[in-house]
Symmetry: C2
Subunit: 364 residues, 2 copies
């Protein structure tokens, strides 16, 4: 088992990563002050629940916890105010009170939804994350929780830090391979923005990670969480440094919006976005190695590097401008300046970005 | 104009109380750091909007602010996730961003709803309260914001402090008289829990307050806010002291729940509740003066002191136990121990409370 701490003063919390941790839930919950006097509510989804809900519930119950459960449909659509309403109904019916804890068992969708429920139920109760996707090594660090609105993603939410994160790598074995790769894209991102030796390690261990080797997963998730935790600790409320986590996301978000959710998974979209950022680095005069390494790494992880040609460049550019990153032909962009280093460039020429979007359609 | 500060460290904020303050909105917004680069959203309701929305909007616009507006139906029903959804739609369509401010123009309903919108839109934007009821001298201090769920009131919310509160006593002139009296009940409560000389002043000035005399209102709202601000500053997250604000509310909330919202306004319900608490004080051996003064004061404000006889005592007791204040025949109760002083009594006999509920039906 590996352990790290997200340093946020009195809101600091530990992340445990290990093979088979679900069975140790009661002990770890107890260690971190989750009381047994009030019922817990475990929120999960229809893809995760059948595999792991009983195991988690039983582990907690045998440790003396009272546990209620709520299952939402798998998928992004469940990040909604309607589902929040339904979770609150379950919480009330199960007798949760202000000393209760809401537990997210699932990927980023369940984490964001249950986390917002924990942030707002009775104006805030305790929260525990039990991530079951690789992508969730990203979403479980930083305390950002939210639901979507029909007009915008993640627009209604809060900052609400968990009491602990319990990452059982064994749960990843049932994750669909495309979701595995998508999650690894965020891991690659964490290397590229902060840690060149982690990038080397990722390069060497791509096959093991793709095969869900438990030790490789433990190490990769640990290092990925560590980068995110470090950035978040330095900038909890997203004033400045935290923006570097958006490497690949300016183009990535625009692709997701234009493609319609589903065609491109989040990690796939940001993989293409990271290639775009690497190209921009080249135009800005940074080492060509950046582009070479980025692209090779993503290919090692069987992630797309080519932008689907049928996506309209105008629409992509419009989606980016919607993102409020434009000002008079200039935009904010996270640009790699070396492997393991990025800058927040606040005046990238929008027409360069357009050219790069077009180039990405021919990438291979 | 009177001014006080709610002392909450770096979240401290001022409350301005005065006659005609709406016209000074731009100046006061600017003084407290509300920028003009991003649009504001003013939320109001259908009873308040026709009187004051144009005045506030024009005052802000003539000071250089861009202002969007959103009007909800007057009434408790608007404190819902559906209305939150609608406000977020307006906010997005109006181009609000993370530097925007949401302004509540109205009573406690609009304050709680717009406040929760401010707490959760983009994970939190700035918030200003422009209260238009007397009751809102209570709801605008303390940062509690929330919406209701069909199963429970105020169950989905946050703590979100405003940047400032701008209390224009002139807006109170259109408030229906029953709402005036209801709001004054909370003012009486603030005297009874904390400040005996304010109780004397209230006694002497009841007619002026009922007649909405601007100077009396200014002073009464100021002193009422001061008590609440003091308690909140000592206990922002409601761990202990803040419970004293619940004088009259244990019975009061139960009455509201059993009567069905509408028969009793909140202030009316807590007026009856405060008489109940004063009776309890007598049983516990505290001075009989408490009961005499409490009752006389409430009558001076034309507030009910008698519990409607048709409300079922069992149902009232059940509603209280739902409130989680029960444990083995004992309950938590805020009990006056002198005029201007209360205690948090954690083991009041539930059967005494039942007897008092019955007695209150014969009160006159
Ligand atoms: N809060 C943050 O900081 C943050 C950061 C990044 C992403 N996010 C959010 O995270 C979400 C994406 O997260 P995600 O990729 O984990 O999505 P997800 O939770 O939807 O999981 C992807 C799919 O895999 C299924 N699944 C999850 N774990 C499984 C398992 N162990 N076995 C079998 N199936 C499993 C899910 O049911 C779902 O169908 C988005 O909503 C995004 O906005 C949040
Ligand atoms: N957040 C807190 O700390 C806190 C504290 C106490 C009460 N509350 C909440 O406050 C709400 C009650 O507040 P309220 O009594 O102000 O209710 P309210 O906002 O519903 O106002 C009462 C009625 O008067 C109308 N009105 C308001 N101002 C008016 C004006 N100037 N002229 C004409 N009509 C006007 C309203 O439209 C409404 O119909 C409840 O939802 C309660 O839960 C919150
Ligand atoms: Zn991402
Ligand atoms: Zn009240």
């Amino acid at each position: 088992m590996k352990q790290l701490t997200v340093e946020l003063g009195e809101r600091s919390y530990p992340i445990y990563i290990g093979d088979g941790l679900l069975s140790r839930a009661a002990e770890l919950f107890e260690r971190h002050g989750i009381g047994k006097g009030s019922p817990l509510l475990v929120v999960t989804d229809t893809a995760v629940g059948p595999h792991y809900l009983a195991a988690l519930t039983e582990a907690l119950q045998s440790g003396g916890y009272r546990v209620a459960t709520h299952t939402v449909e798998a998928g992004e659509k469940s990040k909604s105010l309607e589902m929040l309403d339904a979770i609150v109904a379950t919480a009330l019916e199960a007798g949760l009170d202000r000393k209760s804890t809401i537990v997210a068992l699932g990927g980023g969708v369940v984490g964001d939804l249950a986390g917002f429920a924990a942030a707002s139920f009775m104006r805030g109760v305790r929260f525990v994350q039990v991530p079951t996707t690789i992508l969730a090594h990203d979403s479980s660090v930083g305390g950002k929780v939210a639901v979507n609105h029909r007009l915008a993603k993640n627009i209604i939410g809060a900052f609400h830090q968990p009491e602990l994160v319990l990452y059982d790598t064994a749960t990843l074995l049932t994750l669909p391979p495309r979701e595995v790769r998508s999650g690894l894209a965020e891991m690659v991102k964490h290397g590229l923005i902060w840690n060149a030796s982690f990038v080397d390690w990722l390069d060497a261990n791509a096959p093991k990670l793709l095969a869900l080797d438990p030790e490789a997963l433990q190490y990769g998730l640990y290092e990925g969480c560590k980068v995110k935790a470090h950035v978040v600790a330095a900038d909890e409320r997203e004033d400045d440094l935290r923006a570097i986590l958006n490497l690949g996301h300016t183009i990535g978000h625009a692709l997701e919006a234009v493609a319609g959710y589903g065609e491109l998974l989040h990690g796939e979209a940001i993989a293409i976005g990271m290639v775009g950022a690497a190209k921009l680095a080249g135009r800005l005069g940074y080492a060509s190695e950046i582009y070479d390494v980025t692209k090779r790494l993503l290919k090692r992880f069987e992630l797309p590097v080519q932008l689907p040609a049928h996506l309209d460049t105008d629409a992509i550019m419009a989606a980016m401008s919607h993102d409020k990153k434009f000002k008079e032909g200039r935009m904010v962009f996270i640009v790699p300046t070396a492997i393991g280093k990025v800058e927040i460039n606040k005046s990238v020429q929008a027409d360069w970005v357009r050219e790069i979007v077009d180039e990405l359609k021919g990438e291979s």
